[in-house]
Amino acid sequence: MKFVLNGKKRMAAKGTTVLEAARAAGIDIPAVCAHEALEPYGACRLCVVEVREKGKKRRRVVASCLYPVKEGLEVETETAKIRKLRKFLLELLLARSPHALYVKELAARYGVTRPRFSKLDDDCILCGLCVRVCSEVVGANAIGFSLRGISRKIDSPFGIDHSRCLACGACTYVCPTGAVQMEYTRIMELRREGGEHRCRYTLMGFLPDAVCSLNYECFRCEIDQRYRGEAGTHPMLVRARTKRSGKARG
């Protein structure tokens, strides 16, 4: 399909989102809650751009991670309006998570350093990456959202139930701010489940029921690093990458 991106004519395959097309063209659009291994979510809204559909007069502000490229579409990613909206969103984000390094750096890049609103102190930016990776990629569904509105947060069921967690660490890996951390207790629990010693990598299907050379002292384990070095990403996400590589690129 033919479309126009920041004034230049481009081509994109059917089913490509504006964000994907822009990244393929080397244009940088911030997108906090987007991840190549996951379905687009559209929650952070930082990826907003202005578009004008063929034949229409009005321009719309849309989330580029979800908006599909259409024939004759005109896209602008750096208008004054978009820059203002990005700063606004970052200001809100910084007010929520003023101490998270990721947020501070991202906001500073766009010139936002001091929010005019009272600050929360919540490192979790509710981007949903952890929940989505646990559900879409790992399939464990160990954590999820609860409540709604300004009380919305991420939790394990009833706040205390970790029974579905595999301790795979994918959530920690994708979390941009470090709000999700691995807890050693869960690894200990898994070790002792059923009276047998089990390595979490066998639970994840990466190792057959092998005997652990470290006597299950997971804090000394280097399998994480080994896989990461080989694959360039968290072991659980390797699967997802192959699953999605079949998607057309613009």
Binding site: L46, V48, L66, F117, R148, R152
Partner: protein, 598 residues
């Protein structure tokens, strides 16, 4: 002879159930065979409940108590005589009015949708059938051309009554042509706008009017499954619809091979879980699919991919109820009602009537149905009787949390889909809340944001954090900690939230804030600069003190005070201890000598 006793929730609180029971007993005792007593849905004039209408003459009795019933039976039902004291008293002329149709409140309305409520027992389909019920469906099925139905609805100019105002026929047409294995039709009965109860009254008072509309729509677009999504807070509407659906099935209007047409269709009822956001179409569908009610971006419309990813037509209760009327009455008749010209462009006007719930500080509260284009002034003052107790009108809020507050200067605006939008508000689903001089507009803005912060699904950053920021600023202002630049800040945040939110809840959330700033800026300034609340509402900005010159020592305030902060013995001048005062205003209310200053 039929006696229609309003048994809707509002009149029930005025003991109308006992009125109904009393009628049944009396009529049985007097062995009046030809009299039917019906417990009906809302008659619309809620201020004067309990309402009783006697057909066929159309005599209206207001504020009826169970004790009045024997007299009504003896005089009116048996002898045709009027019980004068129960008739409506017109405050303008001082005269009593006999007939429902002559009462000014009703006379100025055009009650196409609600008019039959006082004649129908919603639990008896025969009442509906007797009033041409299901005749429109019969005609449509006999004619056998679904596309013709779509065309008729398009040409009628019918637009969504839920607030969106999208041309219904266009929606149906797109759904009809969309690709999918199956289609769905949904009735949105999640009426969540606080202050609106039109849909509830239609569902409880005349459920078949909605059902018939849905069946016709399903036939037109080719759907075989329908849902009515009713909000959790309306259990009686769920009951009324359940009963009505059962009866409709029995009569062959629902199910397989409806009226031997070959068309099969049935409807299920789904209850909400208590979430305002589920009135939004994609959130509603998520809820129907068994998920939390989180909206999704509508870059692909729900008519193409909606419920279970299939083409779906979602319409509001009132929209569905208009459908049989249009089929029966015809295009010439329907397009004469309302504003604009829809002959070439379905967006070109607002046709038909609209039901408003006229509530707040207005004399005649209740449901008002008028042709599109009626002005705010005609509705609020002409039909509503203006503001009671000698207070002055200040603002009218329309469109719920997505709408705005309009001042007195704009009362001559006609009410339709387009006229109010220019002024910053919108007609919305029909909630019309009148506010008088004792309402603080900054507090109103704060109220709506406070409402939305909990109802927002919380998924997207601008809505969730933006509402938090707006509320924080408004709280500061109403608590006397407003700063210079706060109005500017409110406007900036509002713009950001409106432009970047995922769905219309966030997208329209700033409207109450922006309209109150636009039309009532002076109140904001008073709060911020002068630390004063002109309407006397924002407690932290209030001080209560006894005016010693006027105090008679009657001790009434002392007795009313819940915080025990007033000292004084009988016949002595009383004193309020401001450090203990919780500013509830009880003393101000009870003092008969205007000796409490605020």
């Amino acid at each position: 002879m039929t006696v229609g006793v309003c048994a809707d929730t509002g009149c029930r609180a005025c003991d109308s159930v006992n009125v109904y029971e009393a009628f049944r007993r009396e009529v049985a005792r007097e062995r009046l065979r030809k009299v039917e007593i019906k417990a009906t849905g809302c008659h619309g004039y809620c201020e004067k409940g309990a309402l009783v209408v006697i057909h066929p003459r159309g005599i209206l009795y207001t504020q009826v108590k169970p004790g009045d019933v024997p007299e009504i039976v003896a005089k009116t039902l048996k002898k045709g005589e009027i019980v004068e004291r129960l008739l409506f008293l017109d405050p303008a002329t001082g005269k009593r009015i006999r007939l429902e149709g002559e009462v000014p409140y009703y006379k100025k309305q055009m009650r196409l949708i609600l008019g039959n409520n006082s004649r129908i027992d919603p639990a008896d389909i025969r009442d509906y059938i007797a009033l041409e019920g299901y005749e429109a469906l019969r005609r449509v099925l006999e004619h056998g051309k679904p596309q013709a139905v779509v065309k008729t609805i398009t040409k009628s100019g019918l637009r969504g009554r839920g607030g969106g105002g999208f041309p219904t026929g266009v929606k149906w047409d797109t759904a009809r042509k969309a690709r999918g294995e199956r289609r769905y039709v949904i009735c949105n009965a999640d009426e969540g706008d606080p202050g609106a109860f039109m849909d509830r009254s239609i569902c409880e008072g005349n459920p078949h009017s909605v059902i018939e509309g849905i069946i016709i729509g399903a036939y037109a677009v080719g759907a075989h499954e329908g849902y009515i999504y009713v909000r959790n807070e309306y259990p009686l509407a769920v009951e009324a619809l359940t009963v009505a659906l059962e009866q409709a099935r029995e009569c062959g209007f629902l199910g397989k091979n409806i009226l031997s047409s070959g068309f099969s269709f049935d409807i299920s009822i789904s209850r909400g879980g208590g979430a305002f956001v589920c009135g939004e179409s994609t959130a509603l569908m998520a809820s129907l699919e068994g998920r939390p009610g989180e909206p999704r971006a509508k870059y692909v419309h729900t008519v193409e991919k909606g419920l279970f990813e299939q083409p779906t037509v979602l319409n509001n209760v009132e929209t569905w109820a208009n459908v049989p009327k249009i089929i029966l009455g015809g295009l010439d008749w329907y397009t004469k009602i309302g504003t604009g010209d829809v002959s070439t462009n379905p967006w070109g006007g607002s046709k038909g009537t609209k039901i408003f719930s006229l509530v707040g500080t207005v004399r005649n509260t209740g449901l008002v149905e008028v042709p599109m284009g009626t002005t705010l002034r005609e509705i609020i003052f002409g039909i509503g009787g203006g503001v009671p107790e000698g207070k002055t009108f200040k603002a009218v809020q329309t469109g719920g949390p997505s709408g705005g507050c309009l001042p007195e200067s704009l009362l001559d605006l006609p009410v339709d889909f387009d006229a109010l939008t220019g002024a910053g508000s919108m007609m919305g689903s029909g909630g019309m809340i009148v506010m008088d001089e004792d309402t603080c507009m900054v507090d109103v803005a704060r109220y709506f944001i406070d409402f939305l912060k909990d109802e927002s699904c919380g998924k997207c950053l601008p809505c969730r954090e933006g509402l938090r920021a707006l509320l924080e600023i408004l709280n500061r202002i109403t608590e006397g900690r407003g700063k210079r630049g706060d109005i500017r800040l409110l406007e900036e945040v509002s713009e950001g939230v409106a432009e970047t939110s995922l769905c219309a809840l966030g997208g329209s959330a700033p409207n109450p804030v922006l309209t109150t700033i636009r039309y009532f800026r002076d109140e904001y300034v008073a709060h911020i600069r002068d630390k004063r609340c002109p309407a006397g509402v924002c407690k932290p900005l209030l001080r209560f003190a006894v005016v010693s010159e006027s105090c008679t020592g009657c001790h009434a305030c002392f007795k009313a005070c819940p915080a025990s902060c007033i000292t004084g013995k009988a016949k002595e001048i009383h004193v309020i201890d401001e450090t203990k005062c919780i500013k509830c205003g009880a003393c101000y209310d009870v003092c008969r000598f205007e000796a409490i200053a605020r």
